[in-house]
Assembly symmetry: C2
Homo-oligomer: 437 residues x 2
C-alpha cells in the first residue's frame, strides 16, 4: 500500500491534537484514501518524550532535520507566530515538501510570499485550520461555493471573545471578571490581546476575503476594534432593542472596493449569528447564486483543529496519489487572476449606531446632543434616559438610523466636548438591515 | 484554452437555474479553473425555445442525442424521479460521460447501481445538490470531515415542511391553512406528500448516512413520520416547555447498528436547529474529533440548487483537467470498504415524549392514564390539563422522561382504548439530552 509520510513541527495544543487525530483515524483514512498516511516525525524544542499512543513516531528537536528528511512528503507547521514558522514553511517548500498550517497570523500577512514559493516548486499549501478551527469553511468557500460572486462575509471567528460576550450576556457580569474566569478555565490565553482586541479575527477575515474575492487582501487595511469597552449595561440595552452584541468580522464586496472591518456589533436576535453561543464560531456568506449560507462549529481546540489539519493532509495525499498537485489554487482564483485589493475607507461606511453617553443630569442636555446629531445629519430612531448614579451622572442611550463613520466620529467629538458630558461615549454599530436579512 | 462541454437534461426549475449559473459565472469559473466550462446542449421535452441569455446553447427533445454526443464530457440530469432519470444516467455512464444529478429519490434508492456502473467506466457521479440545496454539505462530509467518525446526523432538510412549521409557530394558524398558502405562493408543490410526510427528508438522510458511515443505507429501513398531525396547540405547548417543533432527520451511529428516522421533534429553543426558520435547511453532525458542526442555507430553489450542481461540474472539470478521476470515492469510503447497514429497530429507540391526549373531563382519568404509563415503565416529567371545549373534551398534556418506542406504542394503545379517551393521541418525540448538547 502506498505510504504518505508526514512530519509535524510543534507539539503544543494543536500539534498534539493533530497527532492524536492522525493516529486514531489512521484506519478510517486508509479505508477512504487507499493509502497509509503515517506520522513519521515530530519536531519540538520543549518535548522530551512523546505519549504512548505515538509509539513509533520519531521525536527531534531540530525542525531542519525533519524538513530535510527525504522520506517526508508533507510538513505540518503548528508552532504559530511569524518566525521561525515562516522560515520553516519556506524551507519545507524549498525542499519540495507540501505544507499544512493552522497559522492565521502568518498566512494573513505572508500568504502571498508562501503561495508564490509553493507555485514555483509545484507543492501544495493547506490552511483549512487557520479559520474556524474544525469547520471546513475554507474548502466550502474555495470549492463548494465556487460558482458564486461572494457579496458579503460576516463571522464570529474568535471563540474567546464570543465566550466572554456570551457569559456577560447570560450572567450580567463585567468584562474583566469574565476574562479572569476564562483565563482560569483555560479558555483565554494569559495574553488575550489578539482575541479580545479583534486582531485574531482580522487575520481570519483577511484569509477569507482573499479567497472570496480573488484579491491580495492586506491586514493593515482592516479596521479593527475590540470588545473591552463593552459593559453589562450595553448588553442590557441591546437586549431591550432586540439585539445581541457579538464581535463580528464584516466584509462587503462593492466591486471596485470592499469593506473590511472587525468590531462589536448589535445583531438582531433572530439572526443565526446572534445565536452562536459560547466558544463556537459561525461564518456567514452571501453569494449571488446560493444566497445566505452559514457554517458553525468549534473555532478552536486541540482535536477540532486537528480534524481540519488532517483534512488538509488527506486532500494533499489524494493529490499526491492522483498526481494532481495544485488541482485547486490556494486562494481559489488562479494566481495570475488575483487582483490588488481596494478597501473602502471606514469614514464612508454607514451603519445604524448605538451610543451610550454619560451626562450630568441637567435640563437641556438632550437638546444639545440632538442638535449636534442633527447638524451632522444623523437621524435618531429612539432615546432612552434611565437610572441615575450617586454622582448625578445618567446614561443617555440613543439609537440612530444609518450614519457614516465620519459623521458619527465628528458628532461624538463634539458631544464629548460638552460640559454636560461626563466621560467617554460607548459607541456600537448596529448591523445594517441589508446585512441582517 | 481547454474546454469542458456540458449537456443538461431537464429544463425545469433546477435545470434553468443551473443553466443560468453556468452562463453568469462562466468568466469566474475560467479564472478559477483555467478552463472554459460550456453548456453545449439542453434536452427537454416541453421546452420550445431557450431564453435569450442561453444564445448558442443547442436545444433538443431527445436526451439520447445529448448522451450520444461525443463532444459532451459531463451529463447533468435534472428531471427528477426514478425513470427515465435512472436510464439516462446509466446510459450516460455507459457512454463514458461523467454525471451530475440533484436527484435524491434516485440516489437514495439506486445509488449503489449507479456508483458501481460509474466505477466500471471510471467516470464521476456528483450529487452535491441532492441534499441541502446550495449548501456544500456533501463535500464537507466527504472531505472536510474525512478524519472523523460521524456519531450523529440531525437535519432540517425539507424547506417546505420547515416553512409550514415556522408559520404555524409564528402565526398560530393551522397546518391546512399554511399549506394552502404555501402552495399558492409556490413554496409547496401541488402534491406536497413527499415534503410533509417526511419522504423527501428520508431520501436525503439515506444519502448522508451512506457517506457518513460507509454503509449501503436503504430507504426502506428508515422510519418515517410526517408533520400533518401537528396542531397549533401542540406548538403552543412546545413553546411553554421551551421547545420548537421541527421535522428532523436523525441518525445515531451505535457502531454495529445505526438509528435512521424522520419525525417531528421538539428541539430545545437554544439549539441551533431550533433557530432554522422559514424555507432554510440546517444539517448538524457530531464527529468524534470535530465535535458539533452545522451547515445552514437554502435547501431548494432555482439558483441555490444550481450553485451546488455547478460546484460538482467544477469539481469534475478539475479532475478531467488533472486526470484525477474518482480522486474522492462517491460515498467517501472506497467502494470495497462499504458495509451493509444494520438499522436499530424503532421499538428500541428511547426519547422523552410529549403526548396530547383528548379526554372526557371526568374524575379519575388522569389516574388511569398515569397508571398505564407506570405499568409500561414510562416516567412522567410534567402534566398540564387546560381549557375545555364545548364538547367537554380537554387535552391532557404529558411530558415524559426517556421511554422506548415499544413502551410508548403499547401504552398509547391502552390509553386510546379507555372510555374516557375522546380521540387519537398526538405523540411527539422530544430531542434526547445527549442529542441536544
Amino acid at each position: 500500500m502506498r505510504q504518505i509520510k508526514v512530519g509535524l513541527i510543534g507539539f503544543g495544543t494543536v500539534g498534539s491534537g493533530t497527532a492524536k487525530v492522525m493516529v486514531e483515524q489512521a484506519e478510517r483514512l486508509k479505508r477512504k484514501t487507499g493509502a497509509d498516511i503515517i506520522l513519521k516525525t515530530v519536531a519540538d524544542l520543549r518535548t522530551e518524550t512523546l505519549p504512548d499512543h505515538l509509539a513509533g513516531v520519531a521525536l527531534v528537536k531540530d525542525a531542519a532535520a525533519l524538513i530535510g528528511d527525504p522520506e517526508i512528503d508533507v510538513v505540518v507547521e503548528l508552532i504559530g507566530g511569524i518566525e521561525p514558522a515562516r522560515t520553516f514553511i519556506l524551507d519545507a517548500i524549498g525542499a519540495g515538501k507540501h505544507v499544512v498550517t493552522a497559522n492565521k497570523a502568518l498566512i494573513s500577512q505572508h500568504g502571498k510570499e508562501i503561495f508564490e514559493a509553493a507555485a514555483v516548486r509545484n507543492v501544495e499549501v493547506g490552511f483549512e485550520a487557520s479559520v474556524g478551527g474544525g469547520i471546513p469553511v475554507i474548502k466550502a468557500l474555495k470549492e463548494g461555493l465556487a460558482a458564486n460572486r461572494i457579496n458579503t462575509i460576516m463571522g464570529i471567528m474568535n471563540g474567546t471573545a464570543n465566550y466572554i460576550l456570551h457569559r456577560m450576556t447570560n450572567e450580567g457580569v463585567g468584562f474583566a471578571e469574565v476574562l479572569r474566569d476564562a483565563q482560569e478555565l483555560g479558555f483565554a490565553e494569559a495574553d488575550p490581546t489578539y482575541d479580545i482586541d479583534g486582531i485574531d479575527t482580522a487575520h481570519k477575515l483577511v484569509i477569507l476575503m482573499s479567497m472570496a474575492y480573488g484579491i491580495n487582501a492586506r491586514l493593515d487595511e482592516v479596521s479593527i476594534e475590540g470588545i473591552s469597552a463593552i459593559e453589562p449595561i450595553d448588553i442590557e440595552f441591546a437586549r431591550e432593542f432586540g439585539y445581541r452584541i457579538k464581535l463580528l468580522a464584516i466584509s462587503v464586496n462593492h466591486g471596485d472596493h470592499v469593506e473590511a472591518r472587525v468590531h462589536p456589533a448589535m445583531v438582531p436576535e433572530e439572526h443565526m449569528l446572534a445565536n452562536i453561543s459560547g466558544a463556537y464560531n459561525g461564518i456567514h456568506f452571501n453569494g449571488d447564486m446560493v444566497g445566505n449560507v452559514l457554517f458553525y462549529g468549534l473555532g478552536a481546540g486541540q482535536v477540532p483543529t486537528g480534524s481540519a489539519v488532517v483534512a488538509d493532509i488527506v486532500d494533499i495525499s489524494r493529490n499526491i496519489l492522483h498526481d494532481s498537485i495544485n488541482r485547486v489554487p490556494p486562494l481559489s482564483y488562479r494566481p495570475d487572476e488575483l487582483r490588488p485589493s481596494a478597501i473602502t475607507p471606514m469614514e464612508k461606511i454607514s451603519s445604524p449606531h448605538y451610543f451610550r453617553i454619560p451626562v450630568k443630569d441637567r435640563p437641556g442636555v438632550l437638546s444639545k446632543i440632538s442638535g449636534i446629531l442633527a447638524a451632522h445629519d444623523i437621524s435618531i430612531e429612539s432615546v432612552i434616559q434611565k437610572g441615575r448614579d450617586d454622582t448625578g451622572v445618567v446614561p443617555v442611550v440613543i439609537r440612530t438610523y444609518e450614519a457614516s463613520d465620519a459623521a458619527v466620529g465628528a458628532a461624538m467629538a463634539e458631544i464629548e466636548a460638552l460640559d454636560a458630558c461626563a466621560g467617554t461615549i460607548v459607541k456600537i454599530r448596529i448591523l445594517a438591515n441589508e446585512l441582517s436579512e
